[in-house]
């Protein structure tokens, strides 16, 4: 039952794509590719919900041999636990909603069917990644989603900016993937398998075979695998592709570059949780923390509505990484889920706004052809590349809340959620779980690192509230800044607003009830994670300590810790805790509410009341503003140094190849020919077996006769050759 459900989930979207591909070869189209793809996704969604009931306490893996060598077998299989099911539901749900939204948003695009086919391929790849029970399968899905991301970012490939962006995305993530592959090679060489679960899986072998002497090795392997996540989840320093990926259609940004694919890095890191060591955890946490903070600061100064959201995504992904690095496994995945819903909502909402402005453009450009394709202005407007398209520039917006009430309300809900406004929005709970978890670890281990990380996370939370409300105020409040555009704007059609409403409902905590159930999602043990010696805290300590797990609603005796007691000889790492520790949790909650309030208040002062002027602050802090505006100069560094160096090196190699290596060859050729030419006449008749003569003969034959070769002569040659072969055989047979 479970296996067949998973098969259906995978095959439906794959079939939808295959139909497109096969018919495409004959230059045909399925009449309604949009219905086909959407139906496939809805079936997958239904099956995912059915799986919810099927999850058994002990997760199962179902495998087949995929690649068998003499001694080693690589198997492919499915692994289903509570996290898998939640991921399946998140992916299929967001994907279905994006499919429906796209029917409105992409209407009239000349490549409309292709868009849905790509979405299907993406959904298949992502789902394959999620259910795979081994690193090789994850890697396959991982690269396939990368391909889909490439295809969809470059969907409007006539635009140079889109063509550049898709290439950049693929190559940047591939750099990370190579790191991941090296990590896989390390693990494979050690354990002779890439399966993760079961008796012969990496986790079991790592738990039983590795000693403290292997910790450096394991840390390196862990960090290398994490490199893949750095690329895919756009963490520093490989984050620069994600903002550019906004060149893709907005539904793609919502599905791939906000809700699902970019979260795959977090999912992978969570899957690798059992082999994370103290060092690799700390590296992950720092990468996440720095990314969360840096990306948030860049978001403050953006004017392109989609770029604000893109940097916000990077920042939130950093949060999730931080959580997992700090041991808050459940909190990280919880935030992944809530973020998927509210960020998809924010992107689709921004799409709704952009769509409203789009339609206006059409009406303006061509009064008569209201419904006509979106593609023209895409190719025209974006020519300048780095310029912000006017329909995405928040400086052209303002006061839209009356024009687009549903878009406004739903986006406001998402913003309240991401900003961490307490209690009634899911984002508050997941963010608070992370903050509490990090602070809990800091207090438990008495670790300066984790206090620093907590500080970063807290700052990022405040900044997030600030820039998100800046977006809301600039877009929906105040006076219209561009009256002409404002007049034409209108609420989007139902196919677009209904998904917004559903996603808004998903941003309420009650829908995310599973995460509040301590027994549904449990962190796997981390046998290689040892608390630093100096920070050893007695199990009886009142902060954290063995035997206590803190849920969101109070402290309770934790069964989990005792179950894992076998691994936890020192008692400090078993209690990872569900959502942080008692006092830590309370402190974190108070602080997070405070910074969120502060962020929103400042935003209100700057962008609504206008008591404070953003411009004057920018002038006073010019260097800092420049740093944020230029995105910490990452792009300048990559383009100006790394890319330039690579191309220079390639040209150098090619030149070396043409002049030096080939030069030697040609030189040898000339010398041989000239020398031999002098002797040819004299030695022509004296045919002696030997290397020199043979070369000479050939040189002579080739050099002298090739000019005379005509097609007629070839046939004579062939007959001569044939006769020669026959003759040879006969002669030698006679010998």
């Amino acid at each position: 039952m479970v296996v067949s459900l998973i098969r259906i989930i995978l095959l439906c979207p794959l079939a939808a794509f295959a139909i497109f591909g096969l018919l495409g070869l004959a230059n045909r189209r399925f009449p309604r590719q949009d219905y086909l793809s959407t139906a496939a996704m809805l079936i997958a969604l239904a099956c995912s919900f059915l799986l919810l009931r099927e999850v058994v306490p002990s997760p199962e893996a179902h495998t087949v041999d995929w690649l068998s060598l003499g001694g080693v077998t690589f198997s492919m299989g499915f692994y289903l636990d509570s996290v898998t099911v939640i991921m399946l539901i998140v992916v299929t749900l967001v994907s279905s909603l994006v499919h429906i939204f796209s029917m409105g948003y992409m209407h009239g695009d000349p490549r409309y069917p292709r868009f849905f086919a790509y979405l299907s391929l993406f959904s298949f790849s992502m789902l394959f990644l999620v259910v795979s029970d081994n690193l090789l399968g994850i890697y396959i899905g991982w690269e396939l989603v990368g391909l889909c991301s490439y295809l969809l970012i470059g969907f409007w490939f006539e635009k140079d900016s889109a063509a550049n962006a898709c290439k950049k995305a693929f190559l940047t993530t591939r750099v990370g993937d190579v790191g991941m592959f090296i990590g896989m090679m390390m693990l494979f060489t050690k354990f002779q398998t890439l399966s993760l679960y079961g008796e012969g899986g990496i986790f079991a072998l790592a738990a039983s075979q590795l000693t403290t002497g292997d910790m450096v090795w394991l840390s390196i392997a862990g960090v290398l695998i994490f490199c893949g996540a750095i690329g895919k989840s756009a963490q520093m320093p490989l984050h620069t592709w994600l903002p550019d990926a906004m060149e893709g259609p907005t539904p793609v940004s919502a599905l791939i570059h906000a809700a699902t694919m970019v979260a795959a890095g977090v999912y992978l890191t969570a899957r690798m949780f059992p082999i994370l060591t103290e060092t690799s955890s700390l590296v992950i946490a720092y990468v996440g923390g720095i990314t969360a903070l840096v990306a948030a600061t860049i978001a403050i100064v953006r004017f392109d509505i989609k770029r604000v959201l893109a940097y916000s995504t990077i920042s939130q992904l950093g949060y999730m990484m931080l959580a997992i690095g700090a041991g808050s496994y459940v909190a990280g995945l919880f935030h992944l889920t809530t973020h998927a819903f509210f960020k998809a909502l924010l992107f689709l909402g921004s799409g709704s706004v952009i769509h409203a402005f789009h339609a206006m453009h059409h009406a303006h450009d061509d009064e008569h052809d209201h419904e006509h394709a979106d593609d023209h202005e895409h190719s025209d407007e974006h020519i300048l590349g780095a310029e912000i398209p006017p329909d995405q520039d928040m400086r052209n917006m303002g006061g839209l809340r009356h024009k687009m009430p549903i878009t406004f309300i739903t986006m406001l809900i998402a913003t309240l959620s991401i900003s961490g406004v307490p209690f009634i929005f899911s984002g508050f709970w997941s963010k608070d779980a992370i903050l509490g978890g990090v602070l809990g670890r800091a207090m438990e281990w008495n670790s300066a690192h984790h206090y620093i990380l907590f500080g970063m996370a807290l700052c990022a939370a405040g900044i997030t509230a600030f820039y998100m409300f800046r977006l809301i105020f600039m877009t929906f409040f105040g006076e219209p800044r561009n009256q002409e555009m404002h007049d034409m704007a209108h609420e989007s059609p139902k196919s677009m607003t209904v998904p917004l409403l559903i996603l808004a409902a998903l941003s309420l905590p009650v829908v995310n009830i599973l995460w509040f159930n301590d027994t549904y999602v449990k962190p796997p043990p981390q046998p290689h994670l040892h608390a630093p010696q100096h920070a050893y805290v007695s199990p009886d300590s009142n902060i954290g300590g063995k035997g206590y797990t803190v849920s969101l609603f109070g402290v309770s005796e934790a069964a989990a810790a005792e179950e894992e007691g076998g691994h936890g000889t020192d008692g400090t790492h078993t209690d990872d805790g569900h959502h942080g520790h008692g006092p830590a949790h309370a402190i974190a909650m108070v602080l997070s509410i405070f910074v969120a309030g502060l962020g929103i208040f400042l935003s209100w002062l700057f962008y609504h009341r206008r008591t404070l002027s953003a411009e004057s602050v920018a002038t006073t802090c010019r260097p800092l503003y420049n740093l944020f505006w230029h995105k910490y100069y990452f792009d300048e560094f990559y383009d100006g140094v790394l890319v330039a160096l690579t191309v220079w090196k390639a040209r150098l190699f090619a030149k070396f190849d043409g002049s030096v290596v080939d030069g030697i060859v040609n030189g040898v050729g000339f010398v041989t020919r000239d020398l031999l030419a002098a002797f040819t006449g004299a030695f022509d008749n004296r045919v002696v077996d030997g290397i020199v003569n043979r070369v000479a003969q050939v040189t002579w034959a080739v050099g002298g006769r090739i000019r005379r070769i005509q097609t007629g002569a070839i046939q004579t040659y062939l007959f001569v050759v044939l006769a020669g072969i026959v003759l040879l055989i006969l002669i030698f047979r006679a010998l």
């Binding site: 003499g70 693929f170 591939r174 592959f181 090296i182 040209r651 080739v702 070839i714 062939l718």
Partner: protein, 509 residues
């Protein structure tokens, strides 16, 4: 017998084609097609009925005495490795004939006749079990190739053809010397000559593993290894013997490029496996034991091929030359995998041989499609073709993705296994080689962008879409690319036992 039939049917076809009147071009093409389809049918039959559970050679013909004076025999047979490559050769035969249907303007009769001769040479090479016969077939491919490039090639065809010919000949002369050395030593045990000398490959493999036999002498093996290695290295081609390849590819007509990349390069790596590895395991050990410079030298050559080839490809602006350099890079993975001497590495290398044959064939066919329409190959001279030729763009994207090693397509499996195997023995070089993966993606994506993305170059507003005949040549290769990417065991089943057997030989020393 079946095997011999398969080998010589194209030769028979050549005779038939030569007897046809020159004017009836359509007839010539059809006859050639039939004479390439028969070996394909036979190859498919062999592929299906090959017993996958044993390592031994099957479908013997011979040994039949041929040149008694030197104990040279006609002896053919196939193991898992050869049957895979035979299938590839037989498959590319008809594809190349179809690809040559319209764009060979002069002397179609001679062209087709030479092509059939070439096919016999290639098929015979992969099946030969006698070292002398092996050499004869190896040389037999040289002649038709020389004419096919030199007569039907591009503007610099003469230069390219001579270069190709001399280069290969230089290599094969060294090989000949090594071969004669092996022959002369084949009956010397403990310094005493006893019995007859032989060229028989299975016998030689056994002798080379026999204690006290002259062929088993480590120093002897090292020198003979080098002789054969250079011969094959030219063919692969391994840096620094590779410069004939870009010239030959650029000048050769499309179908000949396909054969060149698809089969001829594999003759080099096949020779390495069949002769260098199986016959001279101690020679191999000397260059792959990881000790000192020489112990890392083979892996180093693999690494250089990968990185050097990829970087050179990145700098090319000629579409065909770019694909040619990418071949050099991809063959580096084969060398790296072979140097690993373990089941992952060798299996990866063999898969990579087959997959590269399929994928590079696709790439050259695709370049040909574009060249036939635009009459140039300058990458920067196109732009935006994605809007004009969506099907062509889709197939090219598939081929590029397969070539840059996207998982789910066949290119990935061979590359990944080669690297996995090599990492076990040459950690540093393998990690450095992964640079090639990124650069590989870079040059293909950059090409994709320059040719297909962006706004349509107004010059090509009327460029016709890929036609049915061209799609027909690409579809079987595309299917293979996907099938082997999704289900690699399909191919590995064929040679798993042969690889295990080879590894036993390598570990026996």
């Amino acid at each position: 017998m079946l095997l011999s039939l398969m080998i010589f049917i194209p030769l028979l076809g050549m005779v038939v084609v030569l007897l046809l009147p020159r004017e009836s071009e359509e007839l010539v093409k059809r006859v050639t097609l039939i004479f390439t389809l028969i070996p394909l049918a036979l190859a498919v039959y062999l592929f299906i009925s090959y017993d996958r559970s044993t390592a031994g050679t099957q479908f013997f013909h011979g040994p039949v005495p041929w040149i008694d004076a030197f104990n040279i025999q006609y002896h053919v047979g196939i193991d898992g490795l050869s049957v895979t490559l035979l299938l590839l050769t037989a498959l590319l035969g008809p594809i190349c004939v179809i690809a040559s249907w319209r764009n060979i303007e002069k002397g179609i009769k001679a062209y087709m006749a030479l092509f059939l001769l070439l096919e016999t040479g290639m098929l015979g090479f992969f099946a030969a079990l006698d070292l002398f016969l092996f050499y004869v077939f190896f040389e037999l491919t040289l002649l038709p190739m020389y004419f096919l490039i030199g007569v039907w090639g591009g503007p610099r065809r003469e230069y390219a053809a001579i270069k190709f010919f001399l280069y290969t000949l230089f290599g094969s002369v060294l090989m000949l010397v090594a071969m004669i050395a092996v022959y002369l030593n084949s009956n010397i045990v403990n310094g005493v000559a006893e019995g007859a000398r032989t060229f028989d490959i299975p016998t030689l493999i056994t002798l080379a593993a026999t204690q006290g036999h002259a062929l088993a002498d480590p120093d002897f093996q090292v020198w003979v290894f080098v002789g054969f290695f250079i011969g094959f290295a030219v063919k692969v081609p391994i840096f620094p013997f590779h410069t004939w390849l870009p010239d030959a590819h650029v000048e050769a007509p499309t179908a000949i490029s396909v054969i060149l990349a698809g089969i001829l390069l594999k003759m080099g790596t096949y020779g390495l496996v069949r002769v260098n590895m199986a016959m001279f395991p101690q020679g191999l050990a000397h260059f792959t034991d990881g000790i000192g410079f020489w112990g890392n030298s083979l892996a180093l050559l693999g690494f250089i091929n990968i990185v050097y080839g990829s970087f050179c490809a990145l700098a090319q602006t000629d579409f065909k030359k770019l694909v040619a350099y990418s071949s050099i890079g991809h063959m580096g993975f084969v060398i790296l995998g072979l140097a690993a001497r373990n089941s992952e590495g060798i299996t990866g290398a063999i898969l990579q041989m087959f997959n590269h044959g399929v994928i590079s064939a696709m790439l050259f066919l695709l370049v040909g499609v574009l060249y036939d329409r635009a009459h140039h190959r300058e990458i920067n001279g196109f732009g935006g073709l994605g809007t004009r030729m969506p099907i062509y763009t889709g197939i090219t994207t598939l081929a590029f993705m397969a070539s840059l090693g996207l998982p789910g397509l066949s290119g990935f499996v061979g590359e990944a296994l080669s690297l996995l195997g090599a990492y076990d023995r040459f950690k540093f070089l393998t990690i450095l080689s992964t640079i090639g993966i990124v650069v590989g993606a870079a040059y293909f994506l950059w090409t994709l962008q320059r040719v297909f993305l962006g706004t349509l170059n107004p010059k090509y507003e009327a460029l016709p879409e890929i036609n049915g005949r061209e799609i027909l040549t690409l579809v079987p290769l595309g299917i293979l690319t996907i099938v082997l990417g999704v289900w690699p065991n399909f191919a590995i089943d064929m040679f798993r036992e042969s690889v295990t057997n080879l590894i036993d030989v390598l570990h026996a020393i």
